[in-house]
């Protein structure tokens, strides 16, 4: 088996033309490797789903290129498969589980009725779906079971690359865990390169070897999961980390002292009318310079001297890419630095 390598170089996806053009993915570089899971986190409008569709060849690139083992991806191909967010929409309601999985079997699959049935049953077994389910319709299955069937269908194509786009966000908490376990087991058994996309950092952390953080169409930080999460360098990554509600942190922290990780200081709200909204930036109207600067705790909002954030885009500035973070003021270790963003955050006086 050849070692699959997916290279995403300067990938750019633009929708619309002229003044209404929206750059959903802006000059993204990323590598995927066989047997490795690359996690991709971001909020709405970050471009993570557009990137997923570009990797699978469903969306055409406006710039840059994506190659699988050197061959550019221009249209959907069997060795790159996508698992969708909504398992209720990704299975044809009028086809049985067996028919859906059979669709994935390629030209190399065995001929003959019984041989194909056996192949389908083996695939269903891989995703822990009983063979007796083969004649069931999707409406008879739970959300988790449907997602398993969708996985089996993708496996039938023996993909070299699997893209999982928010595959657990439509599922209940008690089901999510078993799907995450399954994805991890499957990757170990099949050895495909996995691009795992989620808005949930804890979920990404659990399955991914490396993690990439996107914001408003750009990659702002990328690196080995452990390093990025233990020592986040980009202020956006830090704000994401601090936003995650956590039960284990609960036990150690006093609730009333929990500070909001994203800058929403009242005194700023008076001066800059947009700061308090602090919703993720809209890719249709990206902020100038660093796209995170209107929400950044270490940026010009709190440090008026840092005008470079208003004028230069760190994601396009190679020099600023210290430690995998697209930030002019990337802090290697928050806490060690007295001026680190964690302390510059909106000090709530309570």
């Amino acid at each position: 088996m050849t070692v699959t390598r997916v290279r995403i170089e300067g990938a750019t996806v633009r929708y619309g033309t002229g003044r209404h053009a929206v750059t959903a993915v802006d000059c993204v570089d990323l590598d995927l490797q066989a047997g490795r899971c690359t996690g991709l986190v971001g909020e709405s409008g970050s471009g993570k789903s557009t990137l997923a569709r570009a990797v699978t060849g469903l969306t055409r690139l406006s710039g840059g290129q994506i190659t699988v083992n050197g061959a550019p991806v221009r249209r959907p191909r069997r060795d790159v498969q996508l698992i969708f967010q909504d398992p209720y929409a990704s299975l044809d309601p009028r086809r049985t589980v067996g028919q859906s999985v059979a669709e994935g079997l390629g030209p190399a699959a065995p001929r003959g009725r019984t041989a194909r049935t056996d192949a389908i049953i083996r695939l269903l077994d891989q995703v822990s779906i009983e063979a007796s389910t083969i004649g069931s319709y999707p409406s008879e299955l739970s959300g988790g079971q449907r997602q398993r069937v969708a996985l089996a269908r993708a496996l039938a194509a023996e993909p070299a690359v699997l893209v999982a786009d928010e595959i657990t966000s439509a599922l209940d908490a008690s089901v999510q865990g078993s799907i995450l376990n399954l994805v991890r087991d499957l990757q170990r058994a099949w050895g495909f390169a996995l691009l795992f996309i989620s808005h949930n950092l804890a979920v990404v952390r659990y399955v991914s070897d490396t993690v990439t953080v996107m914001y408003c169409g750009q990659i702002v930080e990328s690196g080995p999961t452990k390093e990025v999460l233990a020592r986040p360098e980009h202020p956006y990554t830090r704000s994401l980390l601090q936003s995650i509600p956590s039960l284990s942190r609960l036990a150690t922290e006093d609730l009333t002292d929990a500070a909001s990780p994203v800058a929403i200081p009242a005194q700023v709200a008076v001066r800059t009318s947009q700061a308090a909204t602090a919703d993720p930036a809209d890719p249709a109207a990206p902020p100038s310079g660093c796209r995170f600067h209107p929400r950044c705790a270490v940026g010009p909002l709190n440090r008026p001297d840092r005008t470079i954030c208003l004028t230069s885009d760190p994601a396009r500035d190679a020099a600023s890419r210290r430690h995998h973070a697209a930030c002019f003021f990337a802090a290697p270790e928050p806490g060690a630095d007295a001026e680190s963003p964690a302390h510059l955050g909106p000090a709530r006086n309570s």
Binding site: A278, P286, P287, G289, H293
Partner: protein, 334 residues
């Protein structure tokens, strides 16, 4: 100091920037569509004569007519000229209001149309007003009362009655009404245009079906709106029922009501032809039927233009009204 006030605003910018020009874009787009549609309509009206298999003049005059008469008529209609010239003449005629001379009436087509338009517009307009006045309250009340399987008998009564009335063709209903009110009860005139009482049966037979159709749509829409989250919010605010329905539900019904109203009004225009036939109404419909049977091509073309333009105009007005009532949905469309 912060140089640029925090840079480009994230949340508000698109909404604010878009507010300036979408109306211009909408107007330009919608007017362009109207003009193109009008041009297609004019071309189609012109093409009617040329789409007739064989010689249309021979077909109109019959096999026994002498060739000289046919040729004379062909020349009068301009059919002996090159196609492009004919098309140019037709376009020019439409723009200047000169639609040719009717073969049967021996009058200018525009004169025939203008003498008959008011009678047709009268019953169509009245019928539309009746439709709206009946359908909106009836549909809303039925929707409120029968939502979530409440009053299943009331629902059956409404669905049955409106369903039957809506599926009776207007001209059949007209015949039935004449039989009952004119022949049976001698309450209203059988046919013809003579004073206000003569309008009653044509208008009722035109309006009854569409009113029920619209009421059914409004009922379904009412039930949909009542299930929307914002209606739950309105109830959570403990507003009195009157406010909940009139202030919160009604405005959200308007878009779909307007859309269906447009279809209903277009349908009314077609319905007038048949209802006029029942009541011998001196409108465009009777003349249209006559002109088609008599193969009076210039008059048929004129009527095609008038009826078609009426439909296009109705659609334009509905679209503009929707844009005014619900700018979000109308202006976003590409």
């Amino acid at each position: 100091m912060i140089v640029r006030g925090g840079g480009a605003p994230a949340g508000l910018a698109p909404a604010r920037r878009a507010a300036a020009n979408p109306w211009v874009r909408f107007t330009v787009r919608r007017l362009t569509r109207f003009v193109v549609s009008l041009w297609i309509l004019i071309s189609a009206a012109w093409a009617i004569v040329h789409a007739i298999p064989g010689d249309p003049v021979r077909a109109a005059l019959g096999l026994t007519a002498p060739q000289s008469l046919v040729d004379q008529e062909r020349h009068a209609l301009g059919l002996d000229q090159p196609l492009l010239t004919q098309y140019g003449h037709f376009l020019h005629g439409v723009v200047t209001g000169n639609l040719g001379t009717s073969l049967t009436y021996r009058l200018p087509v525009s004169q025939v149309i203008s003498s008959r338009l008011p009678a047709t517009a009268g019953i169509a307009g009245l019928a539309f007003i009746v439709v709206v006045i009946i359908a909106i309250p009836l549909g809303m009340i039925a929707g409120v009362l029968t939502r979530d399987d409440r009053h299943p008998r009331g629902e059956l009564a409404f669905s049955g009655f409106s369903g039957i009335l809506a599926s009776i063709p207007q001209f059949v209903l007209a015949v039935g009404l004449v039989a009952l009110f004119s022949v049976g009860l001698h309450l209203l005139p059988v046919a013809g245009q003579s004073g206000p009482s003569s309008y009653v049966l044509p208008v009722v037979s035109l309006a009854a079906g569409p009113a029920m159709l619209l009421a059914r749509v409004i009922r379904v829409e009412t039930m949909r709106v009542l299930h929307e989250d914002y209606m739950r919010t309105a109830r959570a605010k403990r507003l009195p029922a009157r406010l909940v329905y009139v202030r919160h539900a009604l405005p959200n019904l308007l878009t779909s009501t307007l859309t269906v109203s447009g279809i209903v009004l277009s349908g009314l225009v077609a319905g007038t032809v048949l209802v006029e036939a029942v009541f011998a109404w001196p409108g465009m419909g009777t003349a249209l039927v006559h002109s088609i049977i008599a193969k009076d091509y210039p008059l048929v073309q004129g009527f095609a233009l008038v009826y078609g333009a009426a439909v296009l105009l109705i659609n334009l007005i509905v679209d503009v009204l929707i844009a005014v009532v619900d700018p979000r949905s109308a202006l976003k469309e590409t």
